[in-house]
Amino acid sequence: MGTPHLHEKFASIRKGLLEFLILKIVSSDKVYVADMLQRLSTTEFATQEGTLYPLLSKMRREGTVDYEWQESDAGPPRKYYKLTAKGRSQLEELSDYWAHINQTLEYLGRGEPCTK
């Protein structure tokens, strides 16, 4: 979706939203990094391990996600990420904020003043 021009234009917005999307992905289930990449791969937010691992480690430091090790049939144990209580409340805040941004866009499009 979108032209390459738009893809480029919104690169920094997509990057900024990645943390929000990760919170959304891990909110539904415990997930392994390859699953996250798989889910994002068909969207505009497709990313790679080189971006995701540093982001996940930052999110874990901030206490919004945590992981546990689980054995894997295919090789060594894997880290499965899950949302923490702090992550859940942050996801709610972000969802509200995102809804507000959408509302702002909507109002501005109509030429009406927007107040929070």
């Binding site: 920094s12 990057k15 900024g16 939203l17 990645l18 943390e19 929000f20 990094v33 390859a34 990313t47 790679q48 391990e49 080189g50 971006t51 691992y53 540093p54 982001l55 480690s57 930052k58 874990r60 430091r61 901030e62 295919a74 090789g75 060594p76 880290k79 972000l94 904020y97």
Partner: protein, 208 residues
């Protein structure tokens, strides 16, 4: 016959051809450099190594025991370059100040591609962001001055050149000089081996 290097990635041994091994070392050095002072650097590197290992596995099996350079590079391309997370994400500005990654250090190399003699002048030019010809002219001018004013063979200029030729590590690259100046690359195989001591395995010479 060509050299094959065995490495250990998270408990599993993989055999890479030599250039593939060099690419992996470069990738990991770059990743370390990009992560700067990130407190989770070691863990992130281990995670990346595990992902790389899992992706390399798909090329093995049956009679295949060695991963080729092209396959290693394909895997590294899929894993993607490591990005710092210093930029504010989703409205957050809570990244600790200490976690900001530092820029890769500039390093001086002999650049073999397009070298006139050893690539020293091209290396100095890339380091200082100058035209290589200018650096070459400066060396020649210095030699001429030595001959004309000091009335002797240009021992100082030539000596300095030869000395630097031996002191500065070499790098073969087809990239632009500016990138060369900024890109962290293992300057010696030994250093690469030290850096990836977690990957350390044994070196085989296997007929292919």
């Amino acid at each position: 016959m060509h050299k094959v290097i065995a490495i250990d990635l998270n408990g599993r041994v993989y055999q890479l051809d030599e250039r593939g091994y060099d690419s992996l070392c470069r990738y990991l050095e770059h990743a370390e450099s990009r992560l700067g002072t990130n407190p989770d650097k070691a863990e992130i590197i281990r995670d990346l190594e595990q992902s790389i290992g899992e992706k390399l596995t798909r090329y093995l099996g049956g009679d295949r025991t060695v991963v080729t350079t092209a396959e290693v590079e394909q895997v590294l391309g899929e894993v993607g370059p490591v990005e710092g997370v210093d930029a504010p994400l989703a409205g957050h500005t809570t990244v600790p100040a200490g976690a900001a990654p530092t820029a890769p250090p500039r390093r001086l190399y002999l650049i073999r591609d397009g070298a006139m003699i050893s690539g020293l002048c091209a290396g100095i030019a890339a380091y200082c962001n100058l035209d290589p010809t200018l650096v070459r002219v400066a060396f020649v001018a210095s030699a001429v001055i030595e001959i004309a004013y000091l009335d002797r063979p240009p021992v100082l200029t030539a000596g300095l050149y030869v000395l630097l030729m031996f002191l500065v590590p070499a790098k073969t690259t087809s990239e632009g000089p500016t990138q060369t100046a900024h890109e962290p690359v293992p300057v010696k195989v030994h250093r690469g081996v030290e850096r990836v001591k977690a990957l350390f395995g044994r070196v085989h010479h296997t007929p292919q």
